[in-house]
Each structure stands twice: as C-alpha cells, then as structure tokens.
Symmetry: C2
Subunit: 348 residues, 2 copies
C-alpha cells in the first residue's frame, strides 16, 4: 500500500509500505476512505518539533473495516468507521471516566504500543487499528458521500473543539469567546453554538475563516488581538466578561487574552497544545478564573457527535477547504503551511 | 472602642478607636462577639507583605447587630450575624452568579470602599459593616455558646475550604486529597467529607493537626512531602490518582504535588493564595488536570453552612485551639506565628 512518512521539515513522502495485517486479536484493518492534515502535523513539517528518524504520519481518518481480529466484538467487515486521533481500550480506569486520551493501554497512530508494535499512520491507504472495539466508532452503513468530510472532522478538530467547550462548561444562554480561528477554533465555535450559547464571539482576522465561523454560529467577530481584543470583549459584555472562553491556539498571548476576557468564576477550556504558555496564576486566582482541558478524549464524544452529523445538526466538514488525492499529500501540507488552506482532506 | 492595628512586622496593637456609626444608609454596626486571626494576617505579621502605614486588621467575626441604616431590609437590632471575609452587595452581576468575592461595589475589611470610606477591621469591639444586607448572614437568635466557634469559622476558613471542594467538583464516593494542614486545609477535609467523599486523604506531619483532620473525616493521613507524598497517593489509589485535589497552601511545591496526584480529568481546587506558584501547564495539559478556585466567595456558601453548623452536621470550630481575650491579640498572633496554635479566637 501507499502511506505517508515525514523525513524532515518540509519533506513529506508517499511511499510503498507493507500492507497491514491483523497482528493482535483485538486489531482491525481499515481501508481509508478519507484522511487529513492536522495543525499539529505542521509542527514537524515546520521544524518546530524535532524529527529523529522518518516516521509514519497522520492521525485522522475514516474508512471501511476490511478485516477484524478474533476478539473484536462490535465491528464487522464492511462497517464505515471513524477513528479518533488516539487509540484506546475504552475499558481502563481512565477510559471509564471519559479520559480515553489517558488510556492505560492506548497510544498514538504511527507510534509504538506497549509491546513496541508500531501502529500505522492515518495518511495512507490502509491502517491497522489496535484495540479496535475501544477505538473505532461505526456508522454501519456507508454514509452519504456529502457527509464524509463532517465525519472525518470528528477524528480530531471537532472532537477537540467540543472538548474545549465541555471543559469550559458552556451552558445554554452563555456568552462564549473563542480564541483561535484554525480548524479547532472554528470547531469550538460550532460546539458552543450547538450547546446553546446565545452569543459566540469568534476572534479572527481572516475573511474566509470569519465566514466559516459565522456559518458555524458565531454572532460576533473580533479582528483585533491582544489588549484591543480584550477591550472589545469587555465592551460586548457590559464590562463583565465572557461566561466561558475556549482557547484553541496554545500560545502565551492567546492564553493571557483568554484569562483576561473570562468573567470571574468562568473557566477557560484550552485545547491548544501549550507552546511557551505561562498561566497567569495571580490573575486567575484573584478573579476565580479556572483553566481546564488538554489532550481531547475524542472517543468519549464520538458517538453523540456522529449522531449529530448524521442528523444534520452539525456540519463540521466545512473546515475542509482543500480536497486532494492522497498522492498530492505534499501539496496538502504546503497549502496549510502557507495558510492557503484551513485544512486539507486527502483521498486515497 | 478598642480595635487592633498592625504597625509593622510583629507589631500588633490593640488601641482606642472612634466608635463606629452608620455612615451610609446600607450600613449596619455590629458588636463583635468573637473574632480570630487568619493565616493571611500572618503575611503582614511575618513581613512577607509590606506595610506602608499602620492599618486596621482582621477580617473574620461574628456578632450582634447594634444598629442598622434606613435602607437595611434583612437585619434588625439584636440579630446574631456572621460576616464573610469581604463585604459585598450580593446584587451585582458577579454576586448573582455566586462570585461575591468579585463584587463590583464590595471590598475588604480595614480597607476603603469606592468612595474612599474606610471599613473597620474585624479584630475589634465594633465594626461598621458596609452593604449590610449583601454581606451579613443572620441566625436571628443568639446561638448556643458552644456553636460560636463553628459559626466564626464560617467567616473564612470553612467557607474557603468549602470553595476548594466546590471548585474541584468533589462528588459522593470520590477519593479526595487535601494538600495543607492549616485551618483551611483542615476545613477542606471537613468539606470533602460533608460532600460525601468516600476517602479523604490529609497531608500532614503534625500530630495535633492529624487528629483534627481525622475528626473532620480524613480516612488516611500522609506525613511525607514532595515525591514521597505523591508516591504514597498513587499507592493508595492503585496508580490512578485522586478524583479531586484540594490545594490549601499556595506554594509551588504544594501545587506541583496537587497536580501530580490528580487523576487524568480531575480538577485541583486551589484556595491557597499563590506565592511563587508556576502552574505546570504541560503536565496539566497532557493529563487533562484542571485548576480552579481563587478568593473564596464565602457569602455564597454562608446560608447553607450556617444551617449545617446549627444542625450539628459540621463542627468547623475545632480548628480553634487557642481562645484569648481581645486584649491578648498580640499573643494570639505570636502563637500562630510560632505554630503553637492552629488558629486563635479572640473575645472582646
């Protein structure tokens, strides 16, 4: 099969790899229908994260079950399935409380399991899925083709945006500020809106992203940054601040803005992987602003988000504005790197 | 009247001051029945917080309403009342969501209101109470004398310990770790226990405090600190970590221990005023450990905690192990400073 590896910054290659096969009785093999490129893949692509040796990349995909191991109970050949960006057993103590991203036996696509067995990356034609019952969520029948992008978005960005909103405790009627207009930030706008927020304020200075934000339910858009953005939120909220803030960037400035615009007693739900963030603890303490979130337990949210997509309640697939065949994976990365695309879908 | 001022580190004086009188129509004057010394008073006493000029100190008291202004509706002369450690209007946008410690018109005992009018400190014979309706909570009748310490504890330490447990989201059946064995930490043990935690782990190396912790419902006591304490909690919880952690110290080491012993998905409720705390954001993010809390909105919790004291459900007054007449206030500070006492009660 063909699958993508990253060799070095700006060096992504689609190569021949051995076809995956069942290696443990809890495995499944999935034929990928659609995969995509994540903002976090760009950390390697841009050289922000070191690459010691080439590795198989990609952690978002939907596809069709090709084969299941003898201990797989919930899936069968031909099922259409959504994979979260980590695999998990869904039975350990952490999974049982809904933090599948801390699963005792789970791991990352393209990485080793506890026995050192490497999982495939998602940007390829086939994937061996460890712990298939605990990882994959099925729609059974092949969905309408128009829904594939939205189901694919559940793999990471929509589940991650949802986690930001859950972590911040968004409630009906709330005023919610979303910091960050990447695919995750836009998904967080959609999540807050779906949860019944009355006012959803998107921070974005990019016309195309503002439009997606509005179609996802943003009622206000703030194009300023830093102190000007903070002042704009306070002006919008009679000086009170937001009931919930969703931080979807991961930089120090974004986090400071998020804490500052939160009203006393509110929570900042954060899902942007922290790069150089120092949490402003004294401001948080004096104003009772909490911080919650982290690596999203997408598997927890997949069943209900799948139903929301299938019913048409949400359409997170709008974050994809570039649709390429898998053999153009390198261009998919370049387009996102150069901000010509919000998010690239790849079709094997 | 006599009231306490602090002049410099280790220089606390009981002095003659003008008798307070109603100055605004929303004021009340309260005759203090009992007051006490707070761990945060010791920051000034120990020279950790600078003292520019002498000021009236003390922010915890119970007493009897002596006089009310013409706009006070809920109180009358003769009522026995509990004062929270800040005054508040209980009607502004922040108060209405239960964060009275961020009240738009509230303030601190011994400090100025928005018009620059100084409030009295709590360690005196009388106190002018601004915004009396929004601040004081009454028991109406004078309680049994044996209950006075427990009602006084609600002014700050019990309300603050309760806030730690609320912020951490303690639920029935939880395993809760409390970091800190001062009066607030002990109160947090009582709060977690009252909320139905099944296992409450107190971190304490002081025999007398361990005893109070056990009488407040601690099921386990860990005398170690740092990594040894963390290992002990993990051993107690099958390697999973605590469902909720209450950080009641405010140092960097205490916070790191709190985050480390929290299970993935748990929240650290923190009420120790941060001194040199850097929140370990990468560890928090990778394990989905949230941090919530701050300056406790004691006023929110006072009515229900008052009822719990009056019914005998909780007895937070056990944190007082030194009971002095007000004219020995200096000894009350010294005893706490030298750790001869957990918390000193003062009787005018």
């Amino acid at each position: 099969m063909k699958a993508t590896s990253i060799y070095a910054a700006r060096d992504v290659r689609l190569e021949d790899q051995p076809d995956p096969r069942i290696q443990k009785p809890t495995d499944a093999v999935v034929k990928v229908v659609a995969a995509c490129v994540c903002g976090s893949d760009l950390w390697y692509y841009r050289g922000d994260n070191p690459i010691k040796e080439p590795f198989r990349i990609g952690h978002e995909f939907v596809g069709i079950v090709e084969e299941v191991g003898p201990e797989v109970r919930s899936l069968r050949k031909g099922d259409f399935v959504i994979a979260p960006f980590m695999y998990s057993d869904n039975t350990c103590a952490h999974c049982r409380v809904g933090i599948q991203s801390a699963c005792s036996t789970g791991g990352f696509w393209g990485g080793p399991d506890r026995d050192g067995l490497m999982a495939d990356g998602g940007q390829g034609e086939y994937v061996r899925v460890p712990l298939a019952d605990g990882t994959l969520v099925s729609t059974r029948e092949f969905p309408d083709a128009a829904m594939v992008p939205s189901l694919l978005a559940l793999s990471d960005v929509m589940g991650t945006g949802w986690h930001a909103a859950m972590s911040a405790g968004v409630r009906e009627g709330d005023t919610v500020v979303v910091v960050g207009d990447g695919a995750v930030g836009l998904s967080a706008v959609l999540a807050a809106s779906r949860m019944g927020a009355e006012r959803v304020v998107a921070m974005s200075r990019h016309e195309a992203r503002q439009q997606v934000a509005r179609s996802f339910g943003a009622t206000d858009v703030i194009a300023e940054r830093g102190e000007a953005a903070e002042a704009a939120v306070l002006a919008l909220t009679n000086g009170i601040g937001a009931d919930a803030v969703l931080e979807c960037v991961g930089t120090g400035q974004a986090m400071n803005t998020a804490v500052t615009v939160a009203r006393p007693g509110a929570t900042v739900g954060y899902v942007g992987v922290p790069h150089g963030v120092e949490l402003p603890v004294r401001s948080m303490f004096s104003r009772n602003v909490g911080v919650a979130g982290g690596v999203a337990p997408v598997r927890q949210y997949l069943p209900s988000l799948r139903d929301d997509v299938l019913s048409g309640a949400i359409n997170p697939g709008l974050v994809f504005d570039l649709d390429l065949p898998l053999d153009q994976v390198a261009e998919g990365y370049a387009a996102m790197d150069e901000r010509r695309a919000i998010k690239t879908m790849l079709r094997p």
